[in-house]
């Protein structure tokens, strides 16, 4: 439900950062999203289309990399990725683990620009 606000925040951040390259067009924006970030991929893609429409990012692709939850187990010391978000037990020893090392990310990793090559200066015609 809040994916539109998230899409709008991405547009704002990328537009600002891309303004340093005035001749370039943004082709792709890459995100890192944790499994516990409460973001639905399809819904964010849909809102991305709406949020970029008529903006300088129109047509840019959104690439979402989903990150699984990674737990640190206080009992056995292992850092392990877990499947899904239904249980927070250490896959190594089975103890409940509350120390989350990955899974809440909601960040823009990078974006890709396409810049026209610097045009070769037109030869100046000699005045006759």
């Amino acid at each position: 439900m809040h994916e539109l606000s998230i899409a709008a925040s991405i547009v704002e951040s990328v537009t600002e950062a891309a303004s340093a390259y005035p001749r370039a067009r943004v082709k792709e924006v890459r995100l890192r999203v944790g499994a516990l970030a409460s973001v639905i991929e399809d819904s964010l893609q849909f809102c991305w289309g709406l949020a970029t429409e008529d903006s300088s990012l129109a047509g840019a692709a959104l690439v979402i990399k989903m990150l699984p939850v990674k737990l640190h187990c206080a009992a056995c010391g292992a850092d392990t990725e877990v499947d899904g978000v239904q249980s927070f037990r250490c896959p190594q020893c089975g103890e409940l683990a509350s120390d989350l090392r990955q899974g809440r990310e909601l960040e823009i990793e990078s974006f890709e620009l396409e810049e026209p090559d610097t045009p070769t200066p037109e030869p100046v015609e000699e005045q006759v």
Binding site: I6, S13, Y21, K27, L31, F88
Partner: protein
């Protein structure tokens, strides 16, 4: 054409996170304990808060509340009967509160200064998904679950329950007719957020309210 990759590594909700960090600093230096109450619509956030404000007032503590809803000031009017200062935040369609709304509603709040408060409660918009992403500068996030909702709520909404610091199971006075499986609910909360403090309350009968108030008092001492 030349292709270039620009590394950004920036939180999408960075603006909210920065505003929330600023609020947290203000709350800490004012010595006010701030709690963010989150649940589905109808779980009983307002009922628990009504009882909490009344009990805290009777014990001479200074407590206030900010109440989020899409529309109406019904909850604020209900809570104001406790005698505590209450301010309504209407989000007009937005499904969560954010740090900017909190900052704005702390300004010009008649008769309320942060330094004069022991507790500030923020009742979020009824929603178990979106509020989990928005830090409001609170020290304690409380996830509420009522006995009418089903014991698997924490499994269905792990993002919110995993981000909570305390959980409250509400309406325990009607647990039996609802066929509520207490053991299963406690186990599910603990699977999603191992070691979390869980309270079982009834705002109506007062069951569990003493334990809840003792927790608040103990947390308010730590600054």
């Amino acid at each position: 054409m030349t292709t270039r990759i620009v590394e950004l590594r920036r939180g999408i909700l960075k603006k909210n996170d920065e505003l929330a960090a600023g609020l947290r600093d203000r709350f800490t230096s004012a010595g006010v304990l701030v709690l963010n109450l989150v649940s589905s619509p109808g779980t009983g956030k307002t009922a628990l808060l009504e009882r909490t404000l009344r009990e805290l007032g009777a014990r001479g503590a200074q407590a206030a509340a900010l109440v989020g809803d899409l529309e109406t000031d019904n909850d604020a009017r209900r809570l104001a009967a406790s005698g505590a200062p209450v301010r309504q935040i209407n989000t007009h369609g937005i499904c969560h509160l954010d740090a900017e709304m909190i900052g704005k509603h702390l300004e010009g709040w008649q008769g309320v200064t942060l330094a004069g408060l022991n507790y500030l409660f923020i009742e979020n918009v009824g929603n178990l998904v979106c509020p989990s992403s928005y830090d409001l500068g609170e020290r304690i996030r409380v996830a509420l679950l009522s006995v009418t909702e089903g014991e698997d709520k924490p499994l269905k909404y792990p993002g919110l329950f995993n981000s909570a610091d305390a959980a409250v199971i509400t309406k325990i006075d009607i647990a039996e007719p609802c066929g509520f499986d207490r053991e299963l609910a406690l186990r599910n909360v603990n699977e999603i957020r191992p070691g979390i403090r869980i309270f079982e309350t009834s705002a109506k009968t007062g069951a569990g309210i003493e334990e809840w108030l003792a927790y608040l008092a103990e947390q308010a001492k730590v600054f």
